[in-house]
Subunit: 186 residues, 2 copies
């Protein structure tokens, strides 16, 4: 089980650092006095400034209406220390259980949105829904990250990358080729 | 350097297997008698059937107009064996060099699109542009994968996951929790 990590403010224009590698994330939401958490693997960075994230939240998810109604969510980054909780969250429904209570997770107050941060996650990105033009057709939401909180260490935590069929790839090992990049590409 | 891998047809409804983990991919395109290759880290699965992929191809890329004009591309999955070629492709422009020739890559004929497959990659996904409604605003393209070619082994190749700043995370190690998934979630 991951412990609560002390986090620092992190520049929202640099959240690609945590999302571009493609990890499974946990989306927390709040609406009508209840909270929920879902797993999400279908997301992409869309812009640095404003810091835009596009993602699929299928209409069958209990979180779908909560995010639409509130226009907000938090995208939380779990590490491999939370593997079994991630699997449990992805295989249960917020219509039946209180996921924070059931999985022993700590709901922390966000600064700019009503949805709670998940304290045990390595990073928490407070998000506002800014474009729902593709929600009806594809369940595709575009969020702006308005505040980011990140644990300063480890610098490259082990993250989970879902392949389907109950199997995750693990990232953590690093290859640097910084010296081979053009300055304007860094 | 990766060798040419013999590939088999792969069900397009299952391409999340290779894209959902979030690897850097190589996008090949063809238009007006020339070909090009770009690196891409901002992509997401959007639907199983049809097999939809959303991605950002910035307007500053030489590939942007080639993909818009042709309405097609191939999304190719490189492994860590191609790390230095991936970096080279991301730090050069198709307006100045022929990337297939410069990097010694093999252009193979696709079945349904004019863009070439990159023979040295582990998987090749032939794509047709199906929705450009968000291109003007976000450079966001939605493609349908119409044909997939995948090398049957290794089953979990080491892939590159870009973090920015010239640094990649590497995925390859596997965690399976299949027994903990609900049957309908697999």
């Amino acid at each position: 089980m991951a412990r609560l990590a002390k986090k620092r403010d992190f520049p929202v224009s640099q959240v690609r650092r945590y999302l571009e590698p493609g990890p499974i994330v946990l989306v927390s939401s709040a609406a009508r006095g209840e909270t929920n958490i879902m797993t999400m693997g279908w997301h992409t960075c869309m812009e640095f400034t404003p810091a835009l994230i596009g993602c699929i939240i299928a209409s069958g998810n209990h979180s779908h209406l909560m995010v639409r109604e509130s226009g907000e969510c938090v995208i939380n980054l779990p590490t491999t220390a939370l593997t079994d909780i991630v699997v449990g969250i992805g295989n249960s429904s917020g219509s039946e259980i209180d996921k924070f209570a059931h999985f022993g997770l700590t709901a922390q107050k966000a600064q700019h949105v009503g949805a709670p941060l998940i304290g045990e996650c390595h990073a928490n990105l407070e998000c506002r829904l800014v474009d729902e033009s593709l929600v009806a057709r594809y369940n595709f939401f575009i969020f702006e990250v308005v505040k980011a909180h990140v644990a300063p260490s480890p610098k490259h935590p082990e993250t989970l990358h879902y392949t389907g069929d109950g199997v995750f790839m693990v990232s953590g090992k690093i290859i640097s080729r910084q010296s081979k990049f053009l300055p304007e590409m860094l």
